[in-house]
Amino acid sequence: MFYRESGDFKKTYQKDSQTFPIKFDRWRYYFVMLIAFVVVPMFLTDYIANAVMIPFLVWAIAALGLNILVGYTGQLSLGTGGFMAVGAYATYKLMTAFPGMDMVSVILLSGLITAAVGALFGLPSLRIKGFYLAVATLAAQFFLVWLLNKVPWFYNYSASGQISAPQREMFGVIITGPHATPVAGYLFCLGFAVGLAWIARNLTRGRLGRSWMAIRDMDIAAEIIGVNPLTAKLSAFAVSSFFVGISGSLFFSVYLGAAEVTEAFGISVSFSVLFMIIIGGLGSIFGSFIGAAFMVLMPVLLKNVLVGAMGWPTDLAAHFEYIIVGGLILIFLIIEPHGLAQMARVLKEKLRLWPFPH
């Protein structure tokens, strides 16, 4: 009874296709935005920003990107780590080669470079499908990491192949480097996350998004309807890599500040982003965010509870963390295989029917 859609008639198609057709949802959305942009910065500490909020936003962007590829287009990919690395190294090269370039351009350019690389590695998807494709994308993952590790030009010939983000500012506010305030980094990432989510939403509700989903649900039928699989798949790879590249770029420049390709962008990164979208919900933008929140917050929370509050030895706590996260993944999947977003949807439907059970 709380959740009403009756009495909420749409008179134009424009209104009908808006993102939050129900008034209550729309207000809630404005409310969340208000909190994110105004309230959170007021209470941001170094720890919350660097251990929780910034990683959450960065991972959410990566999850959005991967969700476009896996959730919307059905092309299983495990190359996320490699593509993030491309974004990060592109950023490093751009930052050091053009010290004057502003950060937004640097990051967008890094995204574009990654998009090109992504489209290139998307080519096999025209022939290879399903898990075979997933394993094939590992080729991209390993090759890119090897390449970035092997060619010293990418890390400006430093001894160990580490890259560090120099300090850069925008409008007089320091954004990268150790002297950046948590609020600046947070708002910078938040801006990207919101903007990209908006773009993702636009792309997925229009013609292109439908062609992706058609390919996902039944590629043959899609082709017979007129969807060119080549453009659909490659555009998905490119857009997805664009997002992932930006995420890698922020990951390196704003979040970590330094990175080394074999450590920071290994295969485990690919898996954890995949986790996020499956737990959050494949083919759901909202799901990308809650998936990322889950995977970032859960370990931090567990750690703080087990070690901080209960005083367990760190190793026991860490092992239990694995057990609990693994167990939760299983429990969520069993309760709702389509992710947290679907769970929220079912809940909504129940709410709509409330107080009647059906």
Binding site: V346, E349, K350, L353, H358
Partner: protein, 271 residues
């Protein structure tokens, strides 16, 4: 049919919900007597397939649950028996929409049908021979992967596979779908033959009402998750409403499909 004899299958006021929220069956009861052929009729989405899946307990794999009511087979409650147990008890389902094992050849498909049988290789071989005799087309295509056979061939394969289990009772979900007209007749002839010669009981969901009522002994008509009418097949056949809405005959004569533009039938009862 004598009412004293306990029915072999009795469904008592069941309710089915999919995905926690979608209520599909709203209290369905029906009975099937030993050696009967019972037809389950109704429009699209009436809940025929759901009823059948509730019996064979395949609902779980579609995130559906029976929330109310009981299902009894030979006097035993089978609400929670798993499908494998049911097949052992002799209840086999032919699923709607073919569901062949795509990567297996036709022959392998049929042999898998005999998985739960324990009466030896010979008997299975005999059944295989029987199925091939019913469907000569399958014999021709026995070495092809089922995924590459035509729609009708797959349908035959699915029915043949169920026969391989040598069942007591067969739940047939739309057996005639996609089959050529003379094959439809043949299938029902097979049903009749098995029923008469081997005493197999049938519950079949069918859209081809005319044929179904010709062969069935009893019929249930479902609308919107409820049983709205039931009766002996012969009675149903004569019922005016059934005639008009399910047999396409009104005022004693068949309408041409070309004329439907000017004329639309509308159901008179409310579901």
């Amino acid at each position: 049919m004598t009412t004293e004899k306990a029915p072999i299958l009795a469904i008592n006021n069941i309710e089915v919900i999919y995905d926690h929220v979608i209520l599909v069956l709203k209290g369905v009861s029906l009975e099937v007597h030993e050696k009967g052929i019972v037809a389950l009729l109704g429009a699209n989405g009436a809940g025929k397939s759901t009823t059948i899946k509730a019996i064979s307990n395949l609902l779980g794999s579609e995130r559906g649950v029976v929330t109310k009511g009981t299902i009894e087979f030979e006097g035993k409650n089978i609400n929670t028996s798993n499908p494998a147990e049911l097949v052992k008890m002799g209840v086999v389902q032919v699923m709607e929409g073919r569901h062949c094992f795509e990567h297996l050849t036709i022959e392998e498909n049929l042999l898998v049908g005999a998985y739960a049988r324990t009466d030896g290789r010979r008997a299975i071989q005999d059944s295989l021979e029987m199925v091939y005799n019913y469907f000569p087309r399958l014999r021709e295509r026995r070495k092809s992967q089922a995924g590459y056979t035509s729609g009708g061939e797959q349908q035959m394969c699915a029915i043949g596979r169920a026969l391989m289990a040598n069942p007591h009772m067969i739940l047939l979900d739309e057996p005639s779908m996609g089959l050529a007209p003379q094959l439809v007749e043949e299938i029902f002839e097979i049903v009749k033959k098995l029923n008469e010669e081997q005493g197999v009981t049938f519950l079949l969901a069918e859209q081809n009402t005319a044929v179904a009522l010709r062969y069935a002994t009893y019929g249930y008509i479902m609308e919107n998750g409820r049983v709205v009418m039931d009766g002996k097949a012969s009675d149903l056949r004569e019922n005016e409403d059934v005639k008009e809405f399910y047999l396409g005959v009104s005022d004693g004569e068949k309408k041409s499909f070309r004329d439907v533009k000017q004329y639309r039938r509308r159901k008179r009862w409310l579901a």
